[in-house]
Amino acid sequence: MHYYLLMRLLLVEDEIDIQSFLRTSLEEAGYEVEAAADGKTAERLAIDGEFDILIVDLGLPDQDGITLILKLRQLGVRAPVLILSARRSVDDRVRGLEQGGDDYLTKPFALAELLARLRNLLKRNSPAGSEATRLRVLDLELYLLRREATRAGQVLQLTPQEFVLLEYLCRNAGRVVTRSMILDKVWGMRIQPDTNVVDVHIYRLRGKVDAPGQQPLIRTLRGVGYVLKDR
C-alpha cells in the first residue's frame, strides 16, 4: 500500500506561505517535492525532471495556470495535475482538464482532502489492478457484491447508504477523510453544510460498527475529519 512513498511531485504555487506549508505536509506524507513560484521555473523543472504528479495553482504571476498545464501537455508531460484555484467559479477549461483525468480543489482546502485527491490521481494513472470484491480492515469485512458487512463474524445491519459510507472509510483505512470528502464521495455533492449532518451519519454508523466491548474502529479527529483505524 505504500507505493506513493517515492512519488516525485512538482508544486507550482506563488504564495510563499502556502508553498512552504504544502511542501512540509507533502514531504511528511512521503512525497519528494520540488517547488516553483512561477510558470517559467515550473516549465524548466517539469521538462528536466520526471514527475509523477503536479500541483498547479491557477493564479501565477507570469502566466495563467491552465496555459501552463496545456503547454506542459504539449511538451509531453503526462503526469496528472491537481489544480488549485482561489477563483470563484470553475473555469470551463478546468472542467475540460477534469474530464481529461486531472482534478481541481478550491482554496482553502483541508490537507487531508488534498492528499486524498493526489492519491486518487496517482491510482487512476497506475495500471488498474483487479477490482477487489472484498475489503478487510482488522476484523471488519465488507462483501462488495452482496453489500454486506461483518464485524468479528457478526453481520452488521446497515442501510445501503451506511454501507457506502463504511466502504469509503475502509478504502481509506488509516487515512483521514474530511466531511467534505465524505459529502463528495458518498452523496456526490460539494457543499459545506453549517450543521452536523455528516457527524450524525458517522455516529449512527459507529453505533453499529463499534459495539460495546469491541475496539472502536471509527475515530473522530476534531477539526479535521474521521479515520478508520487499520492497526
Binding site: 457543499i191 459545506q192 453549517d194 450543521t195 477539526g223
Partner: protein, 489 residues
C-alpha cells in the same frame, strides 16, 4: 382572450395587425365591387331600355302602316315574334317558347286586341292598366303569375290604340347575379390573399423582433457573450438589434469588471485563508493534548464558516447584479431531493423532526448543479437549526405551468413578524438566529440567477412556507402531478 395553450401565432402581434389590415382591405374592396355592380346593372338596364324603345317604335310603325285586315294581326304577330328573338343578354340555351317577351295591343276601349307571348295576356293587361305607363318611357312592371318582373315600353298609334312591348328582366337579373357571384368569389380570394400577404410579412418582420427578444432574454442570465441577431436590412428592426448589441457590449464590459473585482477579492481573501488553515492543520497533526487542540480545532471551524460566508456573500452580491455565472446541466430535482433527504434525515430525526417529500416523480431542470446543491442544503440547514422538536417539514415538488415548483412547509413557529417583509435582504435574520443572515438571500440569489423566484412567508395555520419556482428544461413534458409520497422517516 387567447388561452395559454393556444398556438403562439394567435398571440402574436402579426395576427392582430393582419386581422385589422384585412378588415380595412375587405371593406375597401367590397365598396369598389358594390360600385362596379351598380354601374354594370345601370348599363344593362340602359341597353335593354334602348332595345325596347327601338322595337316599340318599329312595332308602332308596323301596326300603323299595316292595313286593318285579317293580315294585320298576323303581320304584327310575326314582327313581335322576330323581335323577341333579338332580346339582348338572352341566354343561348333558353327554350324556344317565348316567355321573355310579350307584345300587347289594346283597343280604344282598353280591351285586349292583340297578344303575343306566354299565357293569354289577361294578367299582363290588368297589371298595365293598374300602373300608369307613359309612352316612350320604359317602366318596371310586376305581373301576377310571373316571378320575374317585366320592363314595359308603350306607344300610342294613330288609331288611338296603345301597343305595349314587355321584356322580362330574367336575363338581366341572371347576368347580374352571375356577376355578383363572381365578384363575391373574387372578393373572398382577394381578402384571403391580402390577409396571407400581410400576415406573412408582418410575421416575418416580427419574427426578427421575437428573435431579438429571445436572444435578449437569454442574455439576461449570466450569458453575456451572445448578441442578438442583426439583419442586412437598414430598417427599424435592425436598428433596434444594433442598439441592443451596443448596450450589451457596455453591460458586458461592466460585468467583466465586476467579475474581476469579485474574483480578485475572492483570491486575495482565500490565499491567506488557505495559508492559515494549512498552518493550523499542521500544528494540529502533531501529537497534542485535547486541551491544546481545542482552540485550534475551533479556529479551523471558524475559518471554514468564514470561507462559506465569503463564498455566499460573493454569490449573493453577484446575483443581485444579475452576474452570477452558471454552468447549466440537466438536473433531476426529485432525485436530488431524495439524496438530500437521505443526508439530512438522521440529523432531523435526532432532533425529533420529520422530513417528507411529496413528488410526482422525476422532474428535470437545466441548472447549475453546485449552486442548487448549496441552495437546498441551505434550506435544510435552516429548518434543522430553527425548528423546535416534533415538527414536520413537508416538501412538495410538482410541475406548475412550464416551471418546477418546490414548496417547503413546516409547522414550527414561522418567521419573526418584524423580518417578514425583508426576508431576502442580506444580513436579515431572526432574533434567535445564530447564522450570518445570508441564508434566504442566497436562496433568492440562486433562484433569480436561474430565472426563477422565491416567496417566503408564514402559513395561516402557523409555520413557515417557502416556495421556489424554477423554469424547466424545455424537452420535458408535463406529467401527472403528485403520484407518490415518499416518507423519509
Amino acid at each position: 382572450m387567447f388561452s395559454k395553450t393556444a398556438k403562439p401565432a394567435l398571440r402574436s402581434a402579426a395576427w392582430r395587425i393582419s386581422l385589422w389590415a384585412t378588415v380595412a382591405f375587405a371593406c375597401g374592396t367590397l365598396l369598389v365591387f358594390i360600385f362596379l355592380h351598380r354601374f354594370v346593372a345601370d348599363d344593362i338596364q340602359r341597353r335593354s331600355d334602348a332595345w325596347l324603345a327601338g322595337e316599340i317604335e318599329v312595332l308602332g310603325d308596323v301596326a300603323e302602316q299595316t292595313p286593318m285586315n285579317a293580315l294585320h294581326d298576323r303581320v304584327v304577330e310575326e314582327v313581335a315574334e322576330l323581335a323577341s328573338k333579338e332580346v339582348p343578354n338572352r341566354e343561348a340555351s333558353a327554350s324556344t317558347s317565348n316567355d321573355s317577351v310579350f307584345f300587347l295591343q289594346t283597343g280604344r276601349d282598353g280591351s285586349l286586341t292583340l297578344w303575343v307571348g306566354a299565357g293569354n295576356g289577361v294578367e299582363n293587361l290588368k297589371a298595365i292598366q293598374a300602373s300608369r305607363i307613359l309612352p316612350d318611357h320604359p317602366t318596371h312592371l310586376r305581373v301576377q303569375g310571373f316571378a320575374i318582373p317585366f320592363r314595359v315600353a308603350s306607344t300610342r298609334i294613330n288609331d288611338g290604340s296603345y301597343i305595349y312591348l314587355g321584356l322580362s328582366e330574367r336575363d338581366e337579373l341572371r347576368v347580374l347575379r352571375s356577376l355578383g357571384l363572381r365578384f363575391i368569389l373574387l372578393w373572398f380570394l382577394l381578402v384571403l390573399l391580402g390577409f396571407g400577404i400581410v400576415f406573412f410579412t408582418t410575421r416575418r418582420m416580427l419574427s426578427h423582433v421575437r428573435e431579438i427578444a429571445e436572444a435578449a432574454s437569454r442574455i439576461g442570465h449570466s450569458d453575456l457573450h451572445a448578441r442578438v441577431p442583426t439583419t442586412r436590412h437598414n430598417d427599424e428592426v435592425s436598428h433596434l438589434a444594433l442598439t441592443l448589441n451596443r448596450m450589451l457590449d457596455r453591460i458586458e464590459s461592466s460585468m467583466h469588471q465586476l467579475h474581476t473585482i469579485t474574483d480578485s477579492l475572492a483570491h486575495d481573501l482565500r490565499s491567506p485563508l488557505t495559508a492559515i488553515r494549512g498552518k493550523l492543520e499542521m500544528s494540529l497533526s502533531a501529537a497534542m493534548q485535547v486541551e491544546q487542540a481545542d482552540p485550534i480545532v475551533s479556529a479551523i471551524e471558524e475559518l471554514d464558516r468564514l470561507t462559506d460566508f465569503l463564498n455566499k456573500s460573493l454569490d449573493v452580491a453577484e446575483a443581485k447584479a444579475d452576474a452570477l455565472r452558471l454552468n447549466r446541466v440537466p438536473l433531476d430535482l426529485d432525485e436530488l431531493l431524495r439524496i438530500m433527504i437521505d443526508l439530512y434525515e438522521p440529523s432531523m430525526s435526532e432532533k425529533g423532526l420529520q422530513l417528507r417529500l411529496h413528488s410526482g416523480g422525476p422532474l428535470t431542470i437545466e441548472a447549475d448543479e453546485a449552486l442548487i446543491h448549496r441552495m437546498i442544503a441551505n434550506l435544510f440547514d435552516n429548518e434543522l437549526k430553527h425548528l423546535p422538536a416534533a415538527c414536520t417539514v413537508n416538501l412538495r415538488l410538482r410541475v406548475e405551468d412550464a416551471a418546477a415548483s418546490l414548496i417547503l412547509e413546516d409547522d414550527g413557529p414561522g418567521f419573526d413578524v418584524e423580518v417578514l417583509s425583508h426576508l431576502f435582504e442580506r444580513r436579515v435574520k431572526g432574533k434567535e438566529s445564530n447564522g450570518h443572515g445570508l441564508g434566504l438571500a442566497f436562496v433568492d440569489a440562486v433562484a433569480r440567477a436561474h430565472g426563477g423566484s422565491v416567496a417566503a412567508g408564514n402559513r395561516d395555520g402557523g409555520g413557515a412556507r417557502i416556495s421556489l419556482i424554477f423554469p424547466r428544461a424545455a424537452n420535458e413534458q408535463a406529467k401527472a402531478p403528485m403520484a407518490a409520497i415518499h416518507r423519509a422517516s
